[in-house]
């Protein structure tokens, strides 16, 4: 139980990584990944919360869109219960891409593992997958790992929303104020009248926010700012 307490006190993904790794080692696991699962065809990389995989396998798996072929990842959409990788169903004869992912994983020494599907609100799906032997795990240990996985996933989501890890670049209060007016359809000159800034400064704030968020245009900036809760309407 003290692991749970330590986990909840972590203020960075790296801290979470250290606690998870130290704990799963006691259960015989060496590597893990914690991620959201994207819709078909969507790049998984922005969804990854924490990777404890070999960098080489990670590059290959994420770069080649393996998440959409992997029977383990697919099985997360069909069950709420944790499962062994070996019990993720696929047709080895007919589903060659799935067989390829499983075979390549084996070549990277990842032929067995324990997978905890994470069901989020609104049909979103996440996963915590541990790499290692599972045949000697008993029911009690499986439940403990299940709970640990959910605490870790939740903590990472929290750190992500709060931007505690500093990966998400925030916008300044002024930029947020300007974007709020943009979001309700005001033009630059209208915003200038409301805020007392010059139209040029208003535009400058928008462009700065765009740079900070890595967005392509004003609409995209507003959408991202809302999505990341940088502005509230």
């Amino acid at each position: 139980m003290s692991t749970i307490e330590t986990l909840q006190g972590q203020e960075s993904p790296e801290g979470v990584r250290a606690v998870v790794l130290a704990t799963i080692r006691d259960y015989g696991f060496e590597k893990f990944i914690i991620s959201g699962l994207p819709d078909r065809g969507v790049d998984v990389r922005p969804f990854v919360l924490l990777s404890g995989w070999d960098p080489e396998w990670y590059q290959r798996y994420t770069g080649l869109g393996y998440v959409h072929l992997d029977p383990v990842a697919r099985n997360c959409f069909t069950t709420t219960l944790p499962f062994d990788w070996s019990s993720a169903p696929y047709d080895r004869e007919a589903d060659l891409p799935a067989a390829r992912v499983m075979d390549e994983a084996r070549d990277f020494g990842m032929d067995q593992g324990f997978c905890v599907p994470v069901h989020l609100e609104g049909g979103m799906q996440g996963v915590v997958s541990l790499v290692g032997r599972t045949d000697w795990l008993n029911e009690k240990e499986r439940l403990e790992l299940h709970m640990l996985a959910l605490y870790a996933h939740g903590r990472l989501r929290f750190l992500n929303t709060m931007g505690v890890d500093g990966r998400r670049r925030a916008i300044t209060p002024r930029e947020a104020e300007v974007l709020k007016w943009v979001a309700i359809g005001k033009t630059a000159s209208e915003i200038a009248d409301i805020t007392g800034l010059s139209a040029r400064t208003v535009n400058q704030h928008c462009e700065n926010a765009q740079k900070r968020l890595g967005t392509n245009n004003r609409l995209h900036t507003v959408v991202e700012a809302i999505r990341h809760k940088l502005i509230a309407l």
């Binding site: 749970i4 909840q8 609104g122 299940h146 989501r157």
Partner: protein
């Protein structure tokens, strides 16, 4: 969306909403989730803890009930220490009078669809913490499927298991307590994008007057 705090005595105006609450609970917990012990022929989920000590936190949207949950005292007979006693291995973090049991959390199923954090559930989370703080509780217990641990952690709540997780009716289930604090309220509001208070001050004031006269 509007949050209602409903307590005994239930006012005339609130009765239809409470009736809807009991029917929706039956539909969700019995008919959809298969909690058969709660099944009643009248299609209303009402148990021994829906008594004068219970507080119902209900969320409506355009006059329709879209979510709810119930808070009951821990220093009187409660669900945690009766039905779910088998899940308790440790003791409560403080005297039972300082805590409450959070039960029957639900969001109307059609409001759970789509790819978003359901605002109904965000409102219930925020309102529960707001209510618990206002009532002076220091902890809130719950029994739930393990996924609650993920949802709670993701809004920055400190959640401590009261026992090892166990499989109940095929579902991984745990009893745990949530720390009630200003920080927990701040975190859940920030994580859900909720900007301020949800519970009308009048709902809390009424309680204070009641406490004095009692």
């Amino acid at each position: 969306m509007q949050v209602h705090i409903v307590r005994a005595p239930v006012s005339e105006g609130m009765r239809p909403l409470m009736e809807e609450n009991y029917r929706l609970r039956h539909k969700i917990f019995v008919e959809l989730q298969g909690w058969d012990a709660l099944r009643r022929s009248d299609g209303r989920d009402v148990d021994a803890f829906d008594n004068e000590d219970a507080t119902h936190i209900l969320v409506t949207d355009g006059g329709e009930l879209v979510g709810g949950s119930r808070v009951t005292p821990l220093n009187k007979p409660n669900l945690l220490q009766t039905v779910f006693n088998g899940l308790l291995h440790g003791s409560l973090p403080a005297d039972p009078s300082l805590g409450a049991d959070w039960t029957r959390f639900y969001v109307r199923p059609d409001r759970r669809e789509g790819r978003r954090r359901s605002p109904e559930s965000a409102a219930l989370f925020c309102a529960m913490m707001e209510y618990a703080l206002a009532e002076g509780f220091s902890f809130v217990t719950f029994v739930s499927s393990l996924s609650m641990v993920e949802h709670g952690s993701s809004v920055g709540w400190r959640i401590t298991p009261l026992g090892a997780p166990a499989t109940v009716d095929g579902k991984a289930t745990v009893a745990a307590w949530i720390e009630v604090s200003e920080q927990a309220l701040y975190n859940v509001r920030r994580a859900t994008g909720m900007s301020g208070a949800l519970i009308p001050a009048s709902a809390l004031r009424r309680r204070q007057l009641g406490a004095i006269s009692a």
